[in-house]
């Protein structure tokens, strides 16, 4: 009788919360492995098109990214609704692209300077005129490796609307 104390009825045992941090740590590890640190905040609408014949981009340090799209709603007041180029957090024009690439290239390690890829993240509704200007600038600075970054999917979804 002394070993078993009488339980008062209606007394629920407290929930053991020792495993709560474990669950949260699991989520944390998921995010740590799956994501990359953001370099720059997107100021343009960037709904990438889909393509099926895609190749994975190489490591982040060999990639220079250029964003193109219509400015976000909060910026459309000042910058309009025409697609614009965003280089490293700033709106720029096509003529700035050449200098940007040279600057970024100079920041990289010597051995990597010749194997850089330029990743073009363009909104699917942008028109090709701006893109051709960018491509011309890239050719002038000899940044010939280009990757049109897309989501994986059926390419025919791009023309549906």
């Amino acid at each position: 009788m002394s070993k078993f104390s009488k339980k008062k009825s209606g007394d629920l045992p407290a929930v053991n919360t020792a495993s709560l941090p474990d669950i949260v740590f699991m989520l944390l590890f998921f995010f740590m492995t799956v994501t990359v640190m953001k370099d720059n905040t997107l100021k343009v609408k960037n709904e990438l098109p889909q393509a099926s014949e895609i190749k994975k981009l190489e490591k982040k340090d060999r990639v220079i990214t250029i964003y193109v799209g219509a400015p976000d709603d909060q910026y459309s007041g000042t910058y309009g609704t025409e697609p614009k180029i965003q280089l490293n957090d700033k709106f720029s024009s096509a003529s700035d692209v050449g200098d940007f690439i040279l600057m970024e290239r100079a920041k990289k390690h010597q051995d990597l300077q010749n194997v850089l890829t330029t990743s073009l993240k363009v909104d699917r509704n942008a028109n090709m005129g701006l893109i051709s200007d960018i491509k011309q600038q890239l050719r002038e600075v000899n940044a010939l490796k280009v990757n049109y970054t897309t989501y994986e999917g059926d390419a025919f979804n791009n023309i549906k609307n």
């Binding site: 919360t17 020792a18 709560l20 941090p21 949260v24 740590f25 989520l27 944390l28 995010f31 740590m32 799956v34 994501t35 990359v36 640190m37 953001k38 990438l48 098109p49 889909q50 393509a51 099926s52 014949e53 895609i54 190749k55 994975k56 981009l57 190489e58 490591k59 890829t117 990743s119 073009l120 993240k121 363009v122 909104d123 699917r124 509704n125 942008a126 028109n127 090709m128 005129g129 893109i131 051709s132 491509k135 011309q136 890239l138 050719r139 002038e140 000899n142 940044a143 010939l144 490796k145 280009v146 990757n147 049109y148 970054t149 897309t150 994986e152 390419a155 025919f156 791009n158 023309i159």
Partner: protein, 205 residues
């Protein structure tokens, strides 16, 4: 306070708070990046010396109008037929010199050999980027389908598979060497001569 038999229990309640803080930090500062796309090479700025005469039949001209209409080799085509037409053009084998183009129709007005076949893509300034990507996708797809077919026949593996493994960081250098040989061989069978011409102005013809 009288010391109990064992060490006093650590209150685990604040561990969860620490974990939540870290989690919120990562949620806010990171993104799940899209890191795949169509890999292309731009042509260099100075035109190479044109001492090699390129016969007109070896060039497959693809034009995209500003409304998204497609002109392949002078004929109005639907996007869904583009891949097939490009494949037909590439493996046409007009002069019979290609011994792996079993399906070639040997049409004298189409390309002579896959190594001489050039696809030239031209688009208008007002063309939508989505349409452009779809066309690029189909053309690269035509090359990949032909390369995959040959790789299956020769090495029992698809070409895109071999390429993906070659690019991965984790593959051993010896495996990469072996893969590189096979990949180069297939690439020489169907070289990707896909050129992007200067675009037309918005007052398109």
């Amino acid at each position: 306070m009288a010391r109990r038999g064992g060490a006093p229990e650590v209150n685990a309640g604040s561990m969860a708070d620490i974990a939540f803080l870290l989690l919120i930090f990562f949620l806010v500062t990171t993104t799940i990046e899209t890191d795949a796309g169509l890999d292309r090479m731009l042509p260099p700025i100075e035109p190479p010396e044109n001492d090699v005469v390129i016969k007109q039949k070896n060039i497959f001209q693809v034009n995209i109008s500003k409304t998204g209409q497609l002109l392949a080799d002078g004929n109005l085509t639907q996007l869904t037929n583009l891949r097939e037409k490009a494949m037909e053009f590439l493996e046409n084998n007009g002069d019979g010199s290609c011994n792996y183009c079993s399906k070639g129709k040997k049409d004298p007005t189409s390309s002579d050999n896959p190594t001489k076949a050039i696809i030239s893509l031209k688009n208008d300034r007002e063309t939508k980027y989505g349409t452009y990507i779809t066309v690029q996708n189909e053309l690269v797809g035509a090359y990949n389908d032909l390369r995959n077919r040959e790789a299956e026949r020769l090495f029992k593996r698809s070409f895109t598979d071999m390429e993906a493994e070659y690019i991965k960081q984790e593959t051993a250098p010896s495996v990469k060497e072996e893969l590189k040989e096979k990949i180069t061989r297939i690439q020489e069978m169907f070289p990707q001569k896909l050129s992007e011409a200067e675009t037309a102005s918005s007052s398109s013809n």
